[in-house]
């Protein structure tokens, strides 16, 4: 799998997964993104992103049975992999470096 920088949306999805404790299925990720960004998030985009990330080895997934009252046929639960964690750390470091070298670092 060729190394490629995280896209903005993928970055968000991984961070949302991290905020859920490193693992979660589609719907909670959508809700988490929506509540932290305050914007409408397309479930389809999240659905696709989670799966593409898995294909790149940044997440991995397993199926679990539906909980009582949940309905459906089970949920695919995604989990950050070490590679995914490293990718996030890289991204954060890059961002911090960029911020610190910026003359507007006192912006916040």
């Amino acid at each position: 799998m060729p190394q490629r920088a995280l896209g903005e949306f993928e970055h968000y999805v991984l961070l949302a997964l991290l905020s859920l404790g490193g693992r979660g299925h589609g719907a909670p990720v959508v809700e988490a993104l929506q509540s932290t960004t305050g914007r409408a998030v397309s479930p389809a985009a999240v659905f696709i992103a989670l799966r593409r990330l898995e294909q790149r080895g940044l997440t991995r997934s397993s199926k679990r049975d539906p909980r009582p009252g949940e309905g459906g046929r089970g949920r695919r639960v995604f989990q950050l992999t070490p590679v995914g964690m490293a990718k996030l750390r890289d991204a954060r470091r890059t961002l911090e470096r960029l911020w610190s070298s910026s003359p507007a670092s006192d912006l916040t």
């Binding site: 299925h25 389809a44 659905f47 696709i48 309905g71």
Partner: protein, 890 residues
């Protein structure tokens, strides 16, 4: 507890979304929906769900299509990539289809055979059509090629050959043609290494090959100047067939010389094969422009290639301008018009085209019939297999899968049917080739090729899907429970399926009626053609061509005439020969030499119209040999010479037309009226005969004496009890005593000539009749199948009726009535359809109209009778019901 999101949206979602992630996506959506439902209520959640699910579906479909599957890698280990999966599923379905076909072998065999008959017939006919009609002409840009005809509209003549003078005038005056050429046929004696043979030699102008765009295989064709007066006429271009058969494709033949009629011709090139025109002759020589150009005798067929960018309409206007000028300028060209015909007619004549399209239509009907039959069989079976389908549905198979499985079964049957059908068509095409009646161009090259395979495969797939879909869609999916409970025994529930089957039988009957009527009309026409009064006798008559050489000089001519006279007198003195005579053209060649005629001094005798007569050069005894009665006057004798003053014998129709009620002998007849005009004295009147074609009215005939001239070749007619096998060697030896260099060829009986003249008609008739018979058999099988099925289903009911005291007769009547009802409906519809469709066959019929009621009556009776039989067999079975056993079963 979670609530259900809108069901329709979910269903739609399911249609678009790739199956491998469908469940997961739906669950995600459902979770989000539930969250919204609790926070905002259904009024807000439902529209949200609709919006999201549709957007979701579209985005997933896109992502799937352009970015590959979205399934988790762990998941994919078990399911494989989607394409492969579909493929495997399809294979599995086909395997299932094959297994179920194997399980019920009898059913499968009949189904495959039914299809094979339809597909085999269509593949065979399509092969013929493709080879005869759809194969392009072997010339570049054939759409620019045209036939050019003279016309005389006021004489009702719209397709006559050109006169020499008019041809050369049009050649020089036209502005529309890139090239224009003409051809003239002769037959000449070719002195090869073996005995002398007659071959067909065509003289062509330079423009002829240029118009066709011929590229010679070896050497060259004629070039500019080689058809000018004074050019050397002894150049030869060989046809491909002649080059192959005589010279073994020896390329070194170019530059060598060959001997024709005793003269040496230098070979300059070899033509490619090319039908028409290029295959029609053996050797082509230059057509040298004569110094004297005749404007009265219509002799030259003319073809042309339009200049680039010139439309047919523009060319017509240009050529009509020339015709008008010639018509004004020369009295002999008065009333002249010119017509352009497209080269389509070179591919096949209109009547052949019509015949083939009728056959294509018939084959289409046959395919429909076999489809209907198969659908009917599958329908009957699907009812008995309702339980199996219901079980699948109950176990969670989506409806699409059940339909897919059913389609896979019919697909297996369809492919098997196509395979058997193709195998059949290979055989049929071989038979058709061997039956080749002549007159159907390219039939000899007909074969089952890639196109035919492709079309056949297409037909098979269409057939399978169409026939498989009917029962598959009727499979009891909604009412799984009752289907499971009642299984095969449900009767009432299948009432609608029963109605559908009866309707299908009616359709089958109607379709086969149309085919049978078509075939019946052709059969009756054929009988009429053979039964027509042809005027001449054919029994024990043999025709042989004698290749006397054309004699240019007077002394040669006298010698040749003497040779002919000696030959005839020797033959006539042979005891086994009743009579013998010669004629310059054989009968029933579809055309021949002709001329306008009239009564001398009475231009009004025939009104404005100038009647057209066929003329023949004959020796004495011709009429006696052919069995034509001499009605008045006398036969020719050796003092009657060909030429001025003309002595003629006319047929009865000519005499009655010109001098009704009067003696024709001694009257004067205008010959070649409107084309130069001579006068002749009538010395005899003979019976009429259909000289050109059996389907034409008896010809107006004018006969000239052969004496004082020679025929090259002469067609000898012999009335003899001898067989051909003894007669021909005898003729050879008699001739060899007089002149060993004269070839004898083309021996055939007059019966064969009559047979050949109707061969194309017989061919079409046989084919359509064969198709109709297959259709009839299939329809009967359909009637039988449905009824015996119905009987088997109603066995217990019959048992009950009999137990309750119904008589055997009444039960029989009940079953028969039920079986015959769709037949009668089909009969009515079919006869109406046949009446409507048969008018497309008008031009193929002879002596009857498309609404010929005896044909319809016979067909209806035949079908009804056969249907009664097909109904009777299962109905009788119904009577054999073992009452106690069936009741016990209940």
């Amino acid at each position: 507890m979670s609530a259900q999101p809108p069901r329709l949206a979910t269903r739609l979602f399911g249609v678009f979304v790739p199956s491998d992630v469908r469940e997961e996506a739906l669950d995600d959506l459902a979770d989000l929906y539930n969250a919204r439902l609790t926070s905002m209520g259904r009024a807000a959640a439902d529209p949200w769900y609709w919006r999201q699910s549709l957007g979701f579906a579209v985005r997933l479909r896109f992502a799937h299509t352009f970015g590959g599957s979205l399934a988790s890698p762990t998941q994919r280990c078990t399911s494989g990539p989607p394409r492969e999966k579909t493929m495997r599923l399809l294979l599995a379905d086909l395997r299932h289809g094959a297994r179920s076909a194997l399980r019920s072998r009898g059913f499968a065999a009949i189904a495959v055979l039914t299809l094979a008959l339809g597909i085999g017939a269509s593949a065979s006919i399509f092969s013929v059509v493709r080879s005869v009609l759809l194969r392009p002409l072997p010339f570049p840009e054939p759409e620019r090629l045209v036939d050019v005809f003279e016309t005389r509209p006021e004489r009702n003549m719209f397709e006559i050959s050109f006169t020499y003078a008019n041809f050369y005038d049009v050649l020089e005056m036209n502005r529309s043609f890139q090239s224009l050429g003409t051809i003239r046929w002769r037959s000449m004696t070719f002195l090869g290494d073996k005995e002398p043979t007659r071959i067909s030699v065509a003289a062509t102008t330079v423009g002829f090959f240029r118009a066709l765009g011929v590229a010679p295989v070896v050497g060259r064709v004629f070039t500019d100047g080689e058809d000018k007066p004074g050019a050397d006429p002894r150049l030869a271009v060989l046809s491909h067939a002649f080059w192959t058969s005589r010279f073994g494709q020896d390329r070194a033949i170019v530059g060598r010389s060959i001997t024709l009629e005793g003269e040496a011709y230098r070979v300059i090139g070899v033509l490619p094969p090319g039908r028409p025109w290029l295959d029609a002759g053996d050797i082509f020589t230059p057509f040298i422009r004569p110094s004297q150009l005749d404007r009265t005798s219509w002799e030259l067929p003319v073809i042309g290639r339009l200049a680039p960018g010139v439309t047919l309409e523009a060319a017509r206007a240009d050529i009509q301008r020339i015709a008008t000028r010639l018509s004004e300028q020369y009295p002999d060209a008065k009333g002249m018009g010119i017509r352009l015909g497209t080269s389509d007619s070179w591919v096949a004549s209109d009547s052949l085209r019509r015949a083939l399209w009728v056959l294509v239509g018939a084959v289409g009907f046959l395919v429909l019939i076999s489809c209907v039959n198969l659908a009917n069989m599958l329908l009957a079976r699907s009812t008995t297999r309702a339980r199996e389908h219901a079980l699948r549905a109950a176990l969670g198979a989506p409806r699409a899968r059940v339909v897919q499985l059913a389609l896979a079964e019919s697909l297996v049957l369809g492919l098997l049917g196509a395979a058997v059908g193709l195998a059949l068509s290979f055989g049929v095409v071989r038979v058709l080739r061997s039956l080749n009646p002549g007159g159907i161009p390219n039939l000899a090259e007909t074969q089952v090729d890639g196109w035919v395979l492709l079309v056949t495969l297409g037909v098979a797939l269409l057939t399978s899907v169409a026939t498989g879909l009917v029962p598959a869609l009727r499979a009891p999916y909604h009412d799984v429970v009752s289907a499971l409970r009642e299984g095969e025994r449900s009767v009432a529930g299948h009432h609608r399926a029963g109605r559908l089957r009866h309707a299908l039988v009616a359709v089958e009957v109607a379709l086969s009626i149309v085919l049978l009527v078509g075939a019946g009309l052709l059969v009756r026409s054929f009988g009429r053609v053979l039964g027509v009064d042809r005027g001449f006798a054919t029994e024990n008559r043999v025709m042989v061509s004698i290749g006397f050489t054309a004699a240019p000089s007077d002394s040669q001519q006298a010698r040749a005439a003497q040779l002919l006279a000696d030959f005839l007198s020797r033959l006539r003195s042979t005891p086994q020969i009743t009579s013998a005579a010669v004629v310059h053209i054989r009968p029933l060649q579809g055309a021949g030499t002709g001329m306008g005629f009239g009564a001398a001094g009475r231009p009004d005798a025939t009104g404005k119209e100038i009647p057209w007569a066929g003329w023949r050069i004959v020796s004495n005894d011709y009429f006696k040999t052919l069995g034509l009665p001499l009605i008045a006057g006398r036969d020719f004798n050796e003092r009657d010479r060909l030429g001025e003053p003309w002595k003629v014998i006319v047929s009865k129709r000519v005499a009655e037309l010109l001098w009704p009620g009067n003696d024709a002998i001694g009257r004067r007849l205008v010959l070649w009226k409107g084309q130069g005009e001579s006068q002749g004295e009538v010395i005899g009147v003979v019976g009429d005969m259909r000289d050109w074609d059996l389907t034409d009215d008896a010809t107006y005939s004018v006969y000239f004496p052969v004496y004082g001239s020679t025929l090259s070749p002469a067609n000898l007619v012999v009335h003899t009890g001898l067989s051909m096998a003894t007669l021909v060697p005898m003729l050879r030896s008699v001739l060899a005593e007089l002149d060993p260099t004269v070839p004898v060829f083309g021996a055939t009986t007059l019966d064969e000539i009559v047979g050949d003249s109707v061969a194309a008609r017989r061919f079409t008739m046989l084919l359509l009749a064969a198709l109709a018979v297959i259709a009839l058999v299939l329809a009967l099988a359909g009637i039988y199948g449905v009824l015996s099925y119905v009987v088997s289903r109603r066995r217990s009911e019959m048992g009950l009726r009999i137990a309750l005291g119904a008589s055997g007769r009444s039960v029989l009547r009940l079953v028969m009535l039920q079986g015959m009802r769709p037949v009668v409906m089909g009969l009515v519809v079919g006869i109406a359809g046949a009446l409507a469709l048969s008018r497309f066959m008008t031009s193929l019929l002879f002596g009857l109209t498309p609404a010929d009621w005896p044909t319809y009556a016979a067909v209806a009776a035949l079908l009804a009778g056969a249907a009664v039989l097909a109904c009777y067999v299962p109905a009788r079975d119904a009577l054999r019901v073992d009452v106690t056993a069936t009741l016990r079963d209940e």
